[in-house]
Amino acid sequence: MRPGVLIFWLLAVPMVACALLVITSRNPLRSALFLVAHMLLLAGMFLSLSAQYVAAVQVVVYAGAIMVLFVFVIMLLNLGGAQKMDAAGLGWALGIAMSLGLAALFVGTGVWKSGLHAGKATAKTLAQGGTAQAVGFALFDPELPWLFPFEVASIVLLMAAVGAIVLAKRKL
């Protein structure tokens, strides 16, 4: 087994395990912690895909900010104790069935293989890959379509910030 494949499995198996633990834990805080672990592993996966910048952003934003927010709210609302908050009976079975159905679709149609025959990546693009410089140049290249979504994302963030304040503030 080549080292790359070995690393892939070393990351993938814990990732799936963490994801499963997220949805099976009774305790939301446990779920959150497993999700953090999941995200750190995903950052590692990004690194193995030579997307260093995105990996770093994943750690900073997801693991460092978003998940801290989650944990903060869980503690703020004091939801730590295991509460019986899972669907029971038919609803639970239905959810699982949907998930399995989706998985069956993915696997059965083999769609993940379609259209992958011609990889265009070369050693050059791979090496250029995910440096902040490469991503930045692509992001702000007027010939590429990313500039507008980038600006829109900033507006979305602004609206989210304002909205969160309006929603959470008791008295404005």
Partner: protein, 103 residues
């Protein structure tokens, strides 16, 4: 050009994670956990984007991922604010208790 790890591996992993997220969204009653499951789904999509970006030698996949992360940050801010205010008014965040939309 062959890679050490075939892109299909990543896509399959992404699909599996996505299905796990779907299962969580469909079965959980705690909105915070539902949120986390949505994050799992988003992350699965991110993984697919980055893997395909590498496969096609296009940095766009990574930019997509960053945009998703930005939007997810906003979504979490709003969603958690909603949950906090929900808790304030109803003293619980059980999704099945929040049924005012019912006729």
């Amino acid at each position: 050009m062959s890679f050490a790890v075939p892109t299909e591996h990543y896509l399959l992993l992404s699909a599996v994670l996505f299905c796990i997220g779907v299962a969580g969204v469909a079965t959980k009653r705690n909105p915070i956990v539902v949120f986390m499951c949505i994050e799992i789904m988003l992350n699965a999509a991110n993984l697919g984007f980055v893997a395909l970006g590498r496969h096609f030698g296009d940095v766009g996949g990574q930019i997509y991922t960053m945009l998703i992360i930005a939007v997810a940050a906003g979504e979490v801010a709003i969603g958690l604010a909603i949950i906090v205010s929900l808790f304030r008014t109803r003293e619980t965040i059980d999704l099945d208790e929040a049924d005012l939309l019912k006729l």
